[in-house]
Amino acid sequence: MKRSFKLFAVAGAAAILALTTGCSSTDNSETAETSAAESEATVEGDPISIAFLMGAEADPFFQAMKVGAEEEAAALGVELIWQGDPAQYSPETQIPIVDAVLALNPTGLVLIPTDPKALQASVDKAVAAGIIVVNVDTRVDDLSNVLTFITGDNQDGGAKAADALAGKIGYAEGQSYQVVVGSSSPTATTNQARLEGFTNRIAEMYPGIEIVDVAYSESNPEKASTNVNNWLTKYPDLSGIFAIDGTNASGASAAIEAKGLKDKIALVGYDAYPDNVAKIKSGLITALIAQDPAAEARLAIQAIVNKVKDGVDPESREVVIPNVILDSSTSDADLKTYTYVAN
C-alpha cells in the first residue's frame, strides 16, 4: 500500500515539478539559441541537454546545487533539465523519475543516486542508451561506466566533525563521554561516509568517547527533534550530538533549545543552512561542516560538456571537493560566502 502511495505521489509531484521547473528551462532557452550559433565543435551538432536528477528538492543542499547548475548551464549554453522528488530522498521515488527523464533522451545525466545498489540499473540503462552519466554527492556501486564522480569529502567531513565535537566537549584522556549521531538515511552514501569518518576518527583519537546510538530521521527535522528528545531522556550524561546533515542540525538544535540544554550539549552539524549558521553565533551549534554543492554541480556539467564537445575525459574518475568548517572563529565574510543560497 505504501509503494502505490509513493508512486502516486511521484506522479502528482512529477507533474507539479514539471510545471515549476518549466520556469527554469525557459530561462535557458534563449542561451540555447546563442550556443547553437557559437559552438562549431559540437559532436552531433545537436543542442546539449543535461538532465540533473537530484535527491530531494526540499533540501537546501540541493537548492544550492541548483544555483550552481543553472549558472553553469547558462554560461555554457546548454539546456538544463532539473528533476527529482520534491521532498522524499528515497530510491522508490527516484527510480521512476529517472526512467521518465531518460525517455526525454538527454545528452547527459547528472545523477545523485539515493541508493548505491538500487540506482545501478538506471545508470546502466542510461549508458546503454548512449547517455553520458556523472554521479554527484553520492555514487552507485559500479562506476566503470560513469564518466566521473564528484563529491564532497564526506569521510573527511565526518572526521573534522569528530575533532570539533571532541574540542567542544573538552576531551581529556582517561575520561568517558557519550555522544550520539543523528542521520537521515541508512543507504545514502554521503550519510554512510560521514558516519564512517566520524566513527573512525573517534576510535583513533578519542577512545574515551562512546557513540551510544545512531538514529535516522528520513530528512524530516521534526523526526530529528524527536530522536534527540528521546536520547536526552535515555542518556542524561550525553555530551554531544553529531547531526549528519542539515535537517538533523535543524531538528536537533530546536530540541536542545526547547529543553534549555544549550550550554550542556555540544552540537556539530553539517551543511550551511542560513538558519543554522545563525545558531553558531549564539553557541547553540558548535560547528557546521559546509560543502560546496554549487561547485560540485558546476564541475559535473563542465565534465559532460567537455566530453561531448571535445571528446575529453576528465582528469580523474573521482573528484573530491574539500569541506569548510564554520565555527565561532570563522569571519563574518566567510560565513556569508559559504552559507547555502538558493534562488
Binding site: L19, A58, Q88, N229
Partner: protein, 343 residues
Amino acid sequence: MKSISSRLRPHVGRRRLRALASNQSAILVGVLIVLIGVFSALEPKFFSVATAGNILTDWGSVVLIAVGMTYVIISGGIDLSVGAVVGLSSVTAAWTMATVLGVGQDVQGSAAYGTMLVGAVVSVSVGALVGLINAFLINKLHIAPFIATLATMGACLGFSVIISTGMPIGSANDFSLIAPIDSSYVPFSWAVVAVIMVVTILGFFLHKARFGLYTYAVGSNAFATRVAGINVERQRTKVYVLSGALAGLAGMYVYIRLGAGSPSSGNGRELDAIAAAVIGGVALSGGVGTILGTVLGTLILFTVQSGLIMVGLAPDWKKVVVAVLIAAAVGAQSLRRGGGSQP
C-alpha cells in the same frame, strides 16, 4: 452443510470474542498499558515523566491531523494532503513572520507572542484554504477524494519548496511553549494542553452535535442524508475545511517545535494520521470511528516510536509493529460486524 441448530446458534466463544472486541477504547488502553510495560521492562528510563513528555510532544502535532482525518474518513472520504499542508502552512506562516513582518529569530519568549499570533492565523487560514480547494474538486468537479487530495498534496509540496526555497525559515518563537510545564512532574507543555482542548472540543462536536451526526450520516448513506433534506455538499465542504484547518494548526505547532517553518516537516504525516485513525477504530469505508479511539491510536503510535528509540531498536521495527496493530484493529472491526446483517 452445517446442521440447522449450529447455524442458528453462533459459537459461544466467538460471541464472547465479539463482545470484547466491541469495547474498542478498553482494548486500546490495554494495548497501551502492555506497550508501556514491555518498553519499561526493557529500558527502565522509559517509565519516566521525561519520556511521557517526549511522547506527548510528538503526539501533539499528529493528533490534530488524525482528528481531522477521522472526520474526513467517517464522512466517506480521505484527505491525503494533510502532511503537505503541515509543511506549507508552517512555511507560509514563517515566511509571513520573517519576511512580511520582518521579525527575526532573535525575538524569543513572550515578546514573540504578537508575531506568533499572526503566524498562527496565517497557518490555519492556509490550511483552511487548501481544504476549500479539496472540497471544490470533490463536490463540483466530482473527482474522487483519493485523487483530488493527492493532487493538492503535490501542489502543496511544490509551493512549500517555492516559498521556502527549500530552506527552513526561522523567526520569533517561544520554545518554552513546547517544553514540559514542570519537567519533574508535569509532562504536558502549554502547546500540548492547547491541543488537548482543541481535540476535546472536536470530540464533543463529533459525538454530541449535529455537525458530527451529519458527518456520520454522509459517510453512512449519502443518498439517505440528501433526501432527508441535508445539504451533503455543504457538509463535505465543512469537513474538508476542518481537516485543512487542523493541518494548518499542526503546522503552527511544528513551527513552535522547530522555531522555523520547514518544507519537509509534514512528510509522511498523512500516513501516520491514517494509521492512527485506523488503529483507533475508524473504518475506511466510512460511517465508523470515534475521537477517543483516534486519540488513543495516535498515542499508541508514538509510544511505539519512542519505545523503540529508547530500547535501541532500528526504526524499521516501528513499521512492523504499526502494521501488526493496523491488522489487529481491522480484524477486530470485522469481528464486531460479523454477527449482524451486512449493510
